[in-house]
């Protein structure tokens, strides 16, 4: 007996559902396995720093020993630098974003001085080390009568530095918006300013924001350089000072490393959420 039309339909629906469920199961298994592997890797890392010594046959193995008492005593002190680190990074990324946008727009300008200013800035900043720039703003600006507190000299240096790098991201974002879009905006009578604000920027930012989050994560760690000038008591500064004075640099640096990693993990998950949100228009 041949199946009726409705039976055929139900059959293919069930097939589809089965296929879909199977794919879902594979995905879930993959995620589960990744999580288990992460936990195993983490346990191995903890074991590496456990200070245990053991022998397998004739071979003797030892792991890295840490002074847990020192860690307990100084954990809180080092941890209180976290907010300074995050604060510097947030202020700097704000400044960097503004500068990067201006530099990227300048790069698209047909007016020579603006184009020159933008390329000159990017070239100069990208051509010199960040550490040098931080000292420059700390030590050179006072001669111009501009005496910035250590924190703001550091934020200025970090912001300018990352702004130069991020201008390339924004430039890529701006040029990712097709020529047709601009022509269409002109065709319906928008001014260049309106076209930028209503058509180009909203689309460009969608491409530029995820890499900006990436830059922010990099900046979280580079913010440690700011403390060399002596007025910014962030995570790394606290770790190096207590570590050196008590001859436990390794322990102190590991405490800092753990905090940096946790911060990075938190911001990475924030970034991936942002990416999903921004990609909602894509098909």
């Amino acid at each position: 007996m041949d199946p009726t039309e409705t039976e055929k339909e139900q059959f293919s629906k069930a097939q589809g559902e089965l296929l879909f469920n199977a794919q879902l199961r594979i995905q879930r298994m993959f995620k589960l396995n990744v999580t288990i592997s992460w936990i195993l890797l983490l346990l191995f890392l903890v074991f590496l720093f456990s200070g245990l010594e053991f022998s397998i046959g004739n071979a003797h193995f030892s792991t890295i020993q840490l002074d847990t008492e020192f860690i307990r005593e100084n954990l809180k002190f080092i941890a209180s630098g976290i907010w300074v680190t995050i604060g510097i990074s947030l202020l700097s990324i704000l400044l960097a974003t503004i500068l990067a946008l201006l530099a990227a727009l300048g790069r698209l300008s047909k007016f020579p001085p603006i184009y020159a200013l933008s390329t000159f800035y990017v070239s100069l900043i990208r051509g010199t080390p960040l550490f040098l720039q931080i000292f420059f703003f700390f030590l050179a600006l006072p001669q111009l009568g501009i005496i910035l507190p250590g924190l703001y000299a550091g934020v200025l240096a970090l912001g300018l530095n990352y702004g130069a790098y991020m201008s390339e991201i924004f430039r890529a974002g701006l040029s990712s918006v097709g020529k047709g879009q601009r022509e269409a905006a002109f065709a319906i009578g928008m001014t260049p300013g309106q076209m930028m604000k209503r058509v180009v920027l909203p689309q460009a930012l969608r491409f530029a924001l995820p890499p900006t989050g990436n830059e922010f994560i990099a900046m979280l760690k580079d913010s440690a350089l700011v403390s060399a000038t002596g007025f910014v008591h962030e995570l790394m500064w606290r770790a190096t000072k207590v570590g050196r004075a008590r001859f436990h640099s390794l322990e102190a640096l590991i405490i800092a490393a753990v905090f940096y990693w946790i911060m990075t993990l938190a911001f990475t998950s924030l970034q991936s959420r942002m990416e999903t949100y921004l990609a909602r228009g894509d098909r």
Partner: protein, 299 residues
């Protein structure tokens, strides 16, 4: 046309910003007066060294302090240098606040008015005197070579053709390189020939690197007090021979400060001499080092 207006506006804003910041003539006649007017003295020190200068991780900032928010208060610091700085502040009638820049920034001078004096166990050398003015020494430490107990090194001659570690921009580095410019009576020994100098950010990295099993160098040169602190922390190190030179450690003031510094130099010098005379420095030295390091070894 529109663009040109935009650029002109931009340039005008920029130039106003620069001139606006450039204004504001200093009100005080000299640095001492300015310190007394603001009520605190900003002291730079290097909190990498116990017992000279290190952080008090349990200390909290007092609520009634007038120190700027990015400076550290005496409650958050501890050590011999810290106590000396606080006592100098007391004798000038002002509060003491601390800035903690990297050591090589302090010794280089040109502090851009960021801090007033350095109380950081700084050795007086002619090189540094070109950029900095020094008070009378407030204590004296012997410079010493340290090594691991089982290194087999027992005299300076054993160091010949070996690598030795020192901190960057220190007198120990100059001594190893043969450029230490101190009065002859302060130098007791010359480094043996063929030494490779390894520089790390601070003395503390040298000892820790050796203790951690690094073999990039066999010994380190530092202050006798630092090796004592290494020993007190349970590190398996030992001193090689006797002191190689004697360091006269003094308070430094930046010559390039925008205000005249002579009156401040005189006032701090008077404070140091007074602290020698009334036994304050001796007491602090015995308290922190267990011995009196405030006596001039050349006398």
């Amino acid at each position: 046309m529109k663009k040109i207006t935009l650029i002109t506006t931009f340039i005008i804003i920029l130039s106003t910003l620069i001139t606006a910041c450039g204004g504001g003539a200093p009100a005080a006649a000299d640095l001492l007066e300015e310190i007394q007017n603001r009520g605190y003295i900003m002291v730079s020190t290097d909190p990498n060294y116990e017992p000279q200068s290190f952080l008090n991780t349990a200390g909290t900032r007092p609520s009634d302090t007038i120190c700027p928010s990015d400076a550290l208060t005496p409650a958050e610091m501890q050590g011999f240098d810290v106590d000396v700085a606080v006592e100098i502040g007391k004798r000038l009638g002002v509060e003491t606040c601390f800035a903690t820049p990297d050591w090589d920034i302090i010794t280089a001078g040109n502090w851009a008015d960021k801090w007033d004096i350095s109380v950081g166990s700084m050795t007086v050398t002619p090189d540094r005197q070109e950029a900095l003015d020094f008070t009378s020494p407030y204590y004296y430490t012997p410079a010493m070579v340290g090594t691991l107990s089982d290194s087999g090194i027992s005299s300076l001659d054993d160091l010949a053709n070996q690598a030795v570690c020192v901190a960057v921009a220190t007198t120990y580095e100059s001594w190893l390189e043969g450029t230490l410019d101190l009065p002859a009576e302060q130098i007791y020994a010359q480094p043996p020939a063929g030494i490779t100098v390894v520089t790390l950010p601070t003395d503390q990295e040298c000892a820790q690197a050796l203790a951690a099993g690094r073999t990039d160098f066999v010994a380190y040169v530092t202050s006798d007090t630092v090796i004592d602190a290494n020993l007190a922390a349970g590190m398996d190190v030992t001193k090689v021979g006797k002191a190689v030179f004697s360091e006269f450690l003094a308070v430094a003031i930046d010559k390039s400060h925008t205000l005249p510094i002579d009156t401040l130099l005189k006032a701090v010098d008077d404070a140091v001499i007074g602290m020698h005379a009334d036994g304050t420095l001796t007491n602090l030295s015995i308290n922190w080092f267990g011995t009196d390091l405030t006596l001039d070894p050349s006398k």
